[in-house]
């Protein structure tokens, strides 16, 4: 009777093959494409790329071992990404989800990105359903918790964050086949978070550190970002951008690539204003060129902001 209902494919219980061709496995899984994409799209981040390549190799070998019947259990895949803001943690998490999907460690490979607000409730009895809701959405994919240390507030012992942490830990342990949790945040505060929540530390296998970008890398990022929107720098504007990056880094609330993106947004605003003010017809080249003046007009060059603005 139930034969005509499609069942999900179960692993065949046949004899294990005698050998495994890792290279063929590597090609067939499509991991190579993800790694190439990572190399192509992300500038800098050499140590991160190295760690991800290592992790991919480990998972590939682990999969081969499972195919040969050498191991049964799912490896712990939960990770922590530490680094300053704007260093590409979310982007890499997205790539990681794709990687895990190709390797068959998560079924759907989507990324659910949350912060404390999405997990912790406002009143008693609000937190558990809220956290579970998020976890259900993340099932079959990757749950990315940005600034995870905000979950734990040692100064307030009645904080509901603790409840969310307990549910998270339980799911991280019991549903290892169903979802992968990635915690992200600043290195020092994550360290303190792990110290006060040893349960998390022991359940996380991979710690990946994201270094700050160098000025040269940031400039390349700026050029790439502009190219993606069909803009370009004049040579003088590129030199101005180089100075801008050096000046911006010294000022507070520097957020690596995110600061660059915001700076470019403002430069485009000034460019639009300049074109608007200039009379006469405008050609496509003028519409897509950022001039030196558009960058130099930034307040960063005048020793920063007179009044301290909120973080960008």
């Amino acid at each position: 009777m139930a034969d005509d209902i499609a069942l999900p494919e179960s692993p065949p219980a046949t004899v294990a093959p005698a050998t495994v061709d890792l290279a063929a496995d590597y090609r067939a899984s499509g991991v190579a494409e993800v790694l190439e994409e990572l190399d192509r799209e992300l500038i800098g981040l050499a140590p991160v790329k190295e760690r991800i390549r290592e992790t991919a190799a480990l998972l590939l070998v682990d999969r081969a071992r499972r195919a040969l019947g050498l191991t049964q259990e799912t490896p712990t895949l939960h990770m922590s990404f530490t680094g300053n803001p704007g260093t590409g943690k979310t982007t890499v998490a997205l790539k990681m989800a794709g990687l895990l999907k190709r390797l068959g460690y998560v079924r759907k490979g989507h990324l659910v990105s949350v912060t404390r607000d999405d997990l912790v409730g406002q009143y008693i009895g609000h937190t558990a359903p809220k956290t579970k809701e998020v976890l259900k959405k993340a099932m079959g994919g990757v749950l990315f918790i940005d600034e995870a240390y905000y979950l734990y507030r040692p100064d307030n012992e009645r904080d509901y964050g603790q409840e969310a942490i307990e549910i998270l830990l339980q799911v991280m342990e019991n549903n290892r086949d169903d979802l992968v949790v990635i915690l992200a945040g600043y290195a020092d505060r994550m360290d303190r978070f792990f110290r006060s929540n040893p349960g998390f530390r022991s359940r996380i296998a991979h710690h990946i550190e994201f270094p700050d970008y160098t000025d040269e890398e940031l400039l390349r990022i700026a050029v790439t970002m502009l190219a993606a929107q069909n803009y370009r720098f004049t040579p003088a504007a590129e030199a101005a951008m180089r100075d801008y990056i050096a000046a911006r880094r010294a000022q507070p609330h520097f957020a690596n690539a995110r600061s660059i993106r915001n700076a470019l947004d403002r430069a485009r605003l000034r460019q639009a204003n300049r074109l608007f003010a200039a009379a006469g017809p405008i050609d496509a080249a003028a519409l897509s060129t950022i001039e030196e003046a558009d960058i130099r007009a930034s307040r960063v060059f005048r020793g920063g902001l007179a009044h301290e603005r909120a973080a960008p």
């Binding site: 209902i5 069942l7 999900p8 989507h110 259900k136 099932m139 079959g140 549903n175």
Partner: protein
């Protein structure tokens, strides 16, 4: 008496894998899946009690099967059904509904005949345990 309501109810009870596969199908179609339970399977009892909110934006059936498990644990002796709601304009209705849990002993139905004015007969269906 075996209650036959919703899809698949003339088939043997679905296994957990089969339930997961059906839910997967619902999610693939972009339907919102909800879980409801009741102890009264009377055909006129259309509004069953909701187990939590309907689940939107799920990607994987695991989220639903977890809730089914939780509902079974809390109400082992109730009828539990899974509803899949299609919000597409023009449909805006439940597209698939099937029972995933039954009590060990299912109630029977009794037919009551009542004589009313002018010797007319009215019939009503009642649940009896």
């Amino acid at each position: 008496m075996r209650v036959t309501q919703g899809t698949f109810s003339f088939l043997p009870d679905l296994t957990d894998e089969q339930i997961a596969a059906q839910v997967e199908y619902c999610l693939r179609n972009g339907w919102a899946v909800g879980i409801e339970f009741t102890d009264d399977p009377h055909p006129r009892n259309t509004y069953w009690e909701m187990w939590g909110n309907p689940m939107f934006d799920l990607r994987d059936a695991k989220g639903v099967t977890m809730e089914i498990e939780a509902c079974r644990k809390a109400h082992p002796d109730a009828y539990i059904r899974v509803n899949a709601f299609d919000s597409t304009r023009g449909w805006e209705t439940v597209r698939l509904s099937f029972i995933v849990n039954r009590p060990k002993v299912e109630p029977t139905f009794t037919l009551t005949r009542t004589e009313v004015r002018s010797r007319s007969q009215t019939y009503s269906l009642g649940t009896a345990r």
